[in-house]
Subunit: 490 residues, 2 copies
C-alpha cells in the first residue's frame, strides 16, 4: 500500500516520498484529499499530498532535523487513510547546504549557515523544449557560474519562441482544449527531474508560477481565480519539498492585464497557506522606459514577500530599494547580454558584468540573461542551449572573489562616493564601473594594517599593491573602467 524509498534513510533536506495506491475513479485531483503528519520528537508538520494519475497518490516531505521521523496519513478516502511509518533523517551529504533563507534583512543563507550569493540566470521555457536541448542546457549550466535559474511552469509564447511544448501542466492540449480540473503527471515528472538535476548542480530553481507570454493562446494567463488557486495548491504539494525551489508568483505580473493587484495578494496567501516549508516568495515586475506612469511595482513591503525580485535597467537605484523594502533585492532582469532588436536584449558583456558588480557593491544582487540572435532562434533567455556571451566567465571570476570574502558584507558608508560593501575594520570591496580615476585616497581605519588589491573585473586580474596601508591610503589606479578595489586587514 505504501513504499518508502532509500531503505528508510533520507539525508537532511533530502526528499522523502511516500507513494500510496488509491482510487482512480472520478476526478481524484479534485475529489480526494490526502495529507500526512510528520513528527520528530515534539515537532510536527502537516504536509499535503497529491494525485499522480493511474490511482497513484504521493506525499513528499523534506526533513530538516536529523533523527527519527514518523508519519501518519489522513485522507478523505478510507483506502488512503491511516497509513503510517517512519524513516531516519541522516546528516546532509557534501554540497547539500539545505534550502535558502533570508538572513539579517538583506542577505541570503543556506539553512546550514553558509552564505548564499545569488548568481542567477534566466531560461524561461527551457523545460518546454525537446529533450536534447534540455540536456544541452543542463550541460551548459554545469560549466557555468550560475546558482539560480528563473524558469516558467507554463509554456511561453513570445518573440523567437513560439514552439508548442510536448506537455502542459494541465491535461489536454491546445487543439482539444485543456481540462482545468485535471493535471498532467507526465509534465510534472519532467519538471521534477529537472528540479532535481538543478539541485545536483547547486542551482536554485526560481519557479515562475504565472506569466503573460501566452496572450490567451493557451489561456494559462487568464484562468478563473479558482483554477489559479487549484493549480497553485497542486504545484506546491508536488514541488514544495524540493529544497532548491523558490516561488516567483509571476514574471512581469503587471503585463497580465486580466489580473488586478488583489489577485496577486490572494495568490501570495495561497502560497503562504499551502507551503509547509515557507520557501522564498517574490514577484517580478515588468518595466517600460516609456510608460508615462512609470514602473508598476508590487508592494514588496507586504509581509508575505520574502525578497525583492526587481526588473530595472538602472541598478544604481539599489540603495533606495534596500532602504525602502528592508529585504534582499535581486535585480533578476536588468537587460540581457546580446544583440536582439529589443532594448532589454542587447547590452554588451561588459555592461552585463558591470551590473552584477554594481548591484553587489551596493548590497544587492544582479541577474543574468543572454539574448544573441541564433539561426534557429535557440536563445538562452527563453529556450536554453549554449551560452555565447562574454559575461559568464567574468561572473565566475566575480563569484570566486565573493567566495573568498568574509560572509555578510554590508554597504560601508566610510567610502563616500564609490559603492563599497565590507565589514568595518576587516574587509572592503568597492566597485568603480565606468569611473576611472587616476588615483584615489581611501579613508581606511587608523591603526589597522591593510593589504590592497586592484581587481580588473573585466580582464579578470588581481594586482596586489606593494606594502601595507593604514589611515588615508593614496593609491594609483590605472584609469581603466571596470575596476574594483579590495582591502583586507592583515
Amino acid at each position: 500500500m505504501s513504499s518508502s524509498p532509500n531503505n528508510g534513510r533520507i539525508e537532511r533536506w533530502g526528499l522523502f516520498e511516500l507513494t500510496l495506491a488509491g482510487p482512480a475513479a472520478g476526478n481524484p485531483y479534485k475529489d480526494v484529499a490526502v495529507s500526512a503528519c510528520f513528527r520528530h520528537r515534539h515537532r510536527s508538520l502537516e504536509v499535503t499530498g497529491f494525485y499522480d494519475g493511474d490511482g497513484s497518490y504521493k506525499i513528499r516531505f523534506m526533513p530538516d532535523i536529523e533523527g527519527v521521523w514518523t508519519y501518519t496519513v489522513s485522507s478523505s478516502h478510507a483506502e488512503l487513510s491511516g497509513a503510517a511509518g517512519q524513516f531516519v533523517c541522516t546528516p546532509a551529504k557534501e554540497g547539500n547546504h539545505g534550502p535558502v533563507r533570508v538572513r539579517d534583512e538583506t542577505h541570503f543563507e543556506y539553512e546550514d549557515g553558509t552564505e548564499y550569493h545569488p548568481f542567477g540566470t534566466t531560461c524561461y521555457a527551457w523545460i518546454h523544449q525537446e529533450e536534447e536541448l534540455q540536456e544541452e542546457t543542463l550541460s551548459t549550466l554545469r560549466q557555468g557560474p550560475f546558482n539560480k535559474i528563473r524558469m516558467c511552469l507554463f509554456p511561453k509564447r513570445y518573440s523567437f519562441n513560439a514552439n508548442e511544448p510536448e506537455h502542459f501542466p494541465f491535461a489536454g492540449s491546445k487543439a482539444e482544449g485543456f481540462d482545468w480540473e485535471c493535471f498532467n503527471p507526465a509534465y510534472f515528472a519532467n519538471l521534477e527531474k529537472r528540479i532535481l538535476q538543478l539541485g545536483e548542480l547547486g542551482i536554485e530553481a526560481d519557479l515562475i508560477l504565472f506569466h503573460p507570454y501566452d496572450m490567451g493562446h493557451w489561456g494559462f494567463d487568464r484562468m478563473a481565480a479558482e483554477t489559479d488557486d487549484f493549480y497553485l495548491r497542486y504545484v506546491i504539494a508536488r514541488l514544495g519539498a524540493y529544497r532548491n525551489v523558490w516561488w516567483s508568483l509571476a514574471n512581469e505580473f503587471d503585463f497580465m492585464k486580466e489580473k488586478v493587484m488583489s489577485d496577486w495578494d490572494r495568490l501570495f496567501r495561497v502560497v503562504v497557506e499551502s507551503d509547509p516549508y515557507q520557501r522564498l516568495r517574490s514577484i517580478h515586475n515588468g518595466s517600460s522606459m516609456y510608460n508615462p506612469g512609470g514602473i508598476i511595482y508590487y508592494d514588496h513591503t507586504k509581509p508575505w514577500v520574502t525578497h525583492v525580485s526587481m526588473q530595472h535597467w538602472d541598478v544604481t537605484l539599489m540603495r533606495s530599494w534596500l532602504a525602502l523594502y528592508r529585504k534582499p533585492v535581486v535585480v533578476d532582469e536588468c537587460c540581457y547580454e546580446g544583440n536582439l532588436p529589443q532594448r532589454w536584449g542587447n547590452i554588451s558583456g561588459e555592461e552585463m558584468t558591470a551590473k552584477f558588480w554594481d548591484c553587489f557593491a551596493r548590497g544587492g544582487y544582479g541577474g543574468h540573461g543572454e539574448t544573441f540572435m541564433h539561426p534557429d532562434n535557440v536563445i538562452w533567455w527563453a529556450r536554453g542551449g549554449k551560452l555565447y556571451g562574454d559575461s559568464p566567465q567574468r561572473l565566475a571570476f566575480m563569484r570566486s572573489i565573493l567566495d573568498e570574502a568574509p560572509a555578510w558584507l554590508r554597504p560601508q558608508e566610510r567610502f563616500r562616493d564609490v559603492p563599497t560593501v565590507g565589514i568595518e575594520n576587516v574587509y572592503y570591496l568597492q566597485y568603480y564601473n565606468n569611473h576611472r580615476p587616476a588615483y584615489r585616497e581611501l579613508p581606511l581605519p587608523e591603526g589597522g594594517r591593510y593589504q590592497i588589491d586592484l581587481i580588473d573585473t573585466w580582464n579578470m586580474t588581481i594586482t596586489p599593491l606593494e606594502g601595507t596601508y593604514s589611515g588615508v591610503a593614496g593609491i594609483a589606479m590605472p584609469g581603466r573602467p571596470y575596476m574594483a578595489v579590495r582591502v583586507r586587514a592583515i
Copy 2:
C-alpha cells in the same frame, strides 16, 4: 555730461551704454539711485543704472526693436536727473540672433526665431585666473563646439582650485576684509569684457550668482540677506543688458547650508523684479549618490524658473523631468570626462558624449565638463585652459547633425523602446547608446518614403542605407554601441 557711443546707432539686441558724471562723495553704490526710461513708439522700459566708481554712472540698455529709441534719465540726485537723448536701433548683424528664450514649453529659441540647442560646458572660475589663462580659455572655446558656459561670479575655493583671484565683486580683500556696501568696478570690467567676448563666439554666459565653494573663506556664501539682495540688484543692473546672459541663481544650492529654501524664493523674486529683459533663470542642485534622503531639488515648477538646470548622473530620467516640470531641461552636470578621484569627475569620453545624445533623444539637453589631472591643477571645469578629452569633437559632430535637422524636434512615441525625437512623418532621430541590436524593425509611417542613415556617434560616420523605406522598415545594424539612426522623409 553724458556720452552715447556708436554715433547713436546700436544694432538690435546690442548694448547701448550711457555714461553720466555724478557725485563721488559718500557711498554712491548705496546712496544714489539712477535709472532711465527708454521709449520706442508706445513701448517703454524702465532700466536701472549703476555706479561704476570715480564719479561715473552708467545705464545700459538692450534695444529689441529696430527704429528710434529715446530715453530720459531719473535720479535721486539732481546732477544726474533729466539727461535725455535718442539713438537708432539698426538691424542685427550676422550671427546676432538675439537673446535666448523658452519656446513651446521645452525648447529654446533665439529671439529672431532660430532654434537654440544648448551645448554647454563648465569653467566655474575661469574669470578668476591670470589673464593669460583666461585668454587661453577663450581660444579653446573658439575652436570648440560649445555655445553656453557655466561660470561663477564669486571666486571658487575647492579641490584643485585654491588660488586667490586678483579681483573680487566687492571692494576690499580677504586680508583687509570686504566692504559689503561697495563693489569693485575693476572686477566687473573684466567680467563684462569676458561676457562680450563670449557673445562674439556665440556663447551664452550662464552666470552662477551664488555657490558654496567658499566655506566662509571669503564669506560670499554667507552674506547677510540684504547684502545678497544688494549684490544681486547691482549685478543685474550691470549685466542684464548683455544679450547672452543667463541667471543661474546658484550652483549646488542645497550645499549652501547657510540658506534655506525661502531664501532662494526671495532671491528669484529679486531677479524677476530687477531684470527688465527677463533673461533665463534657473538654479542648479547638487547631488550625492549616498544622501539617504536623496537629491534635494528646487521646485522648478515655480513660475519664476524658466528652465531646469539639473544635476543628475542618470540622464535617462529626462522624460520624467520633462513631464514633471514642463520646461526645458538642461542636465548641466551629469559627471565630467576625466580621471579625477572624485566620482563626478572621471567618466570616459564615450560616456560624456553618450549622455548628450541620451538627453537629446529624450527631448532635453546635456552639459559638458572636463576634469583631467594636470601637473599645475589647471583643470577645465574650474580654471579653463585647454581641453584634453575625446568628447568635444564628438559633440561638434552631434551639433552638426542637429544643425541639419528640422527645428523643434520632440519625443516620438512611435518608436517604443528606443528614445527618439523627431517630427511625425518628416524626421526621426533615435539613439541606442549601449544597446547594440543586430537589426531593428522601424515602424515608419505607411505611405511616406524615407531615407535612413546609420550614424556612429563615436566614430563620427554617417552611413546612408541603400534605397528608400516605407512602413515597417527592417534594417541591419552593426552591433556596436553608440549608434544613432536618422530617418528623413524624401
